[in-house]
């Protein structure tokens, strides 16, 4: 069974930094449709620091590295995204404490822990139109698959996130700044979900995994 080293995870995070930084304005514009237009900037502010500090961060243990990244989120990411992503990285880090590399099962559990933490922090439910509506199906898909072909897993979860964009598009947001505009949030994509899907799309490109996006927001 395939395992992921701390360095491999660090590399994936580094690719994520590039995605978030490159999409700063786009993600903020999406957030401006029904929210307050800060999503892209908030996230990019933190991931610029992560990008810069990542080479220096101790990578001998996966958990410690993720906790360090969580702290950067607490320190540098404003808006709801700070507590949400900070909590996610913190819980994933706690779930992988002391490990030098993680198995596919451990990776799946780390995501499960992150999701639990985010739910506890922000109280979102299925269909509330948050990035959890992408993370839940991703987690379920990972539980279904055996992880023997990580490329296949990546293609499958990228497709789940992609699907989540369109499946939640017509919904009304019930969390975050966008929830305070009522019906007006319907028929706009959720920026958090688009963010997760864009990261996965870019991972596919980076790892040479075939993936044909469906949602308009990924086809730009």
């Amino acid at each position: 069974m395939s395992t992921l080293s701390s360095d491999q995870i660090a590399k994936a995070i580094d690719v994520t930094c590039d995605t978030v930084i490159a999409n700063e304005k786009y993600f903020s514009d999406l957030d401006g449709l029904a929210g307050d237009g800060d999503f892209g900037t908030s996230l990019a502010t933190g991931f610029k620091v992560i990008k810069k500090e990542l080479p220096e961060i101790d990578k001998s243990a996966v958990g410690a590295m993720l906790l360090k990244i969580s702290m950067i989120c607490s320190k540098h990411v404003g808006g709801s995204s700070g507590p949400i992503w900070g909590t996610g990285f913190m819980r994933a880090g706690m779930a992988s404490k002391g490990l030098e590399e993680v198995t596919y099962e451990q990776l799946t559990e780390m995501l499960g822990s992150a999701i639990e933490g985010i739910v506890a922090r922000g109280g979102a439910k299925r269909g509330d139109k948050t990035l959890l509506d992408a993370l839940w199906p991703i987690h379920e898909k990972m539980q279904e698959m055996d992880g023997s072909d990580l490329g296949a897993v990546l293609a499958a979860v990228a497709a789940e996130a992609d699907k989540a964009i369109d499946e939640t598009r017509s919904a009304v947001a019930h969390r975050g700044r966008a929830s305070q505009v009522g019906e007006r949030s319907a028929n706009t994509p959720d920026p958090g979900i688009v963010g997760v899907a864009t990261i996965l799309k870019d991972w596919c490109a980076h790892y040479g995994v075939d993936f044909v996006p469906q949602a308009a927001e990924l086809k730009r």
């Binding site: 800060d38 908030s42 949400i84 909590t87």
Partner: protein
């Protein structure tokens, strides 16, 4: 982008440095946390803190001063401050008397302050958190994050600030905050959008002949988008939404605030006040105190909000007490 700005990433640190430079005797900063606090804090009194996105000046860091906030931190424009900054804000002014944490009801602020309060309490700091939610434009329901905290925040800060100076303890201060928040209602209206410096273009599009009724202080869409109306009709529609919500009844003494959202000049605010004062009289409300100016802005948005606060003797006295902040006239 028609703004006075250098590198947009430095906008918040730079204006905060300006606030400190203009108030060297009154205030000091911890720039690494975008935090401003009073000098010479009286350790025997409850400290009052707040922190939220930038772009609402004079809220929140410019509201630090004797009789107002003890400390405040700022996030980037329109985004809640990072958790760390909230935590340091509490820690920087924590006294044995405790800390009152005033949070405007936005999920980002709430989550950041929740985490910060947990961290501070774990270190033995005595505190209470109070959530402000005065915006009647937003439906309050179990299925949303609830009503937003907007210009009514000023009255909570002012009343609690005065009570803290007078020596009230943490529970008493919480009760003051609760009394103000239960009796204050606001609704806003935008004529134009606004441009967060880092974004570089308007946060929403609005037609030359349109207005956004019930807009949030971050440009969030409101209750409805309509054709622009004469000032008196606008005042009426804001007044009705606000006055019917609590409701405010004949015989009530009130504070009335016409708040500018940043791009609306003083004269226009007084045109609105003129009509609002008439509407109060028509409804039998006595305006015991009034406030016309910029209290809680949305960067340079042209627009306004109307706030009513029902007063009793205690609140009236607290509002009348002296206070001082970064913003001065003379």
């Amino acid at each position: 982008m028609k703004k006075f700005v250098n590198d947009p990433e430095n906008f918040v640190p730079e204006f905060m440095a300006g606030v400190i430079a203009a108030n060297p005797d009154l205030l000091e900063a911890m720039p690494e946390f975008q935090l401003i606090k009073r000098k010479n804090v009286d350790a025997s009194k409850v400290a009052i803190v707040q922190g939220s996105g930038s772009g609402h000046e004079p809220a929140h860091v410019m509201a630090v001063g004797p009789g107002m906030l003890t400390a405040a931190c700022q996030g980037p424009v329109f985004a809640a401050p990072p958790v760390d900054a909230c935590y340091e804000t509490i820690k920087s002014v924590a006294t044995d008397a405790g800390v009152l944490v005033l949070v405007n009801n936005y999920q980002g602020d709430r989550m950041a302050w929740d985490m910060a309060c947990e961290m501070a309490e774990a270190e033995g700091i005595k505190l209470k958190q109070f959530i402000i939610n005065d915006d009647v434009a937003v439906q309050d329901s179990l299925y949303t994050v609830g009503r937003r905290g907007v210009a009514g925040n000023f009255f909570v800060m002012k009343a609690c600030g005065a009570a803290a100076e007078a020596g009230a303890d943490l529970d008493a201060l919480y009760a003051v905050a609760d009394k103000v928040n239960s009796n204050v209602r606001t609704m806003g209206l935008a004529l134009t959008s606004c441009i967060p410096p880092a974004k570089g273009d308007p946060i929403f599009d609005i037609g030359d002949d349109e207005m956004e009724v019930g807009v949030g202080i971050h440009g969030e869409p409101g209750r409805e988008r309509t054709k622009i109306k004469p000032a008196d009709e606008i005042t009426e529609l804001l007044f009705e939404a606000v006055a019917n919500d609590l409701p405010y009844n004949s015989g009530d003494r009130v504070a009335l605030m016409i708040n500018g959202l940043g791009g609306t000049p003083p004269a226009e605010l007084y045109v609105l006040y003129n009509k609002a004062a008439q509407l109060c009289a028509d409804r039998g409300l006595t305006i015991a105190r009034n406030y016309v100016g910029e209290y809680c802005t949305a960067i340079e948005m042209a627009g306004c909000s109307l706030t009513l606060l029902k007063l009793d003797d205690e609140l009236e006295k607290l509002l009348a007490a002296p206070a001082e902040t970064a913003c001065r006239i003379f």
